[in-house]
Symmetry: C2
Subunit: 116 residues, 2 copies
């Protein structure tokens, strides 16, 4: 059970998707690799949803981060060979919506409202 | 505490925002009316976040619905005078991204992935 006093960071992010890869991307995420799920869970990520807006070729993701150091957890994830293999399949499907550095695709959104 | 067997519907949605109304919309949602929060909670909605993407004038929302009949709860909300007053302030800020019926603004997205 989650303590009410536990710190939770709610992360919303968006990225474009190449229309010709929507089926591939959905198939990948309908059958996620257990090692990827274990690694993201260890990195403090939970209650993780991805949604598709096919009319606009957009993906929207929402997850909750309950770790102590999001940047450190992200760096560790980025060094995981299984994650690299997974992202090598996902990234070619994605189109950044704003200018991004390096291999990052998703753009974090600005939280403006929360209701428990 | 939430039962593991309880049915949860995770809803992601998107809507455009008129850039000249972003400040108004953010102010409204930084100071939500307690009656609106009580009504949406009674309608089965919880863990409700709204995110802004200022670069693209988009709003994304995520919430969890734990009621028994989402359509019936939505109809009851729509008849609540406080909700009507609240939406009368919010709706002029919003731009539907796809053709919608009636006063609806948000477009529900298609869930393609969930990880607990």
């Amino acid at each position: 059970m989650t303590s009410e006093r536990e710190s939770v960071l709610r992360v919303g992010a968006v990225v474009g998707i190449r229309p010709e890869t929507i089926e591939t991307y959905c198939d990948l995420h309908a059958n996620p690799w257990p090692e990827v799920q274990a690694a993201t869970s260890r990195a403090g990520i939970s209650n993780y949803s991805i949604f598709l807006m096919p009319e606009k070729n957009l993906l929207f993701s929402y997850y909750e981060y309950r770790g102590a150091d999001r940047a450190a957890d992200a760096r560790e994830l980025a060094q995981n060979p299984v994650m690299k293999d997974w992202w090598a399949l996902c990234r070619p499907c994605q189109v950044p919506l704003v200018t991004v550095e390096g291999s990052r695709r998703w753009t974090d959104l600005r939280p403006i409202f929360f209701q428990k």
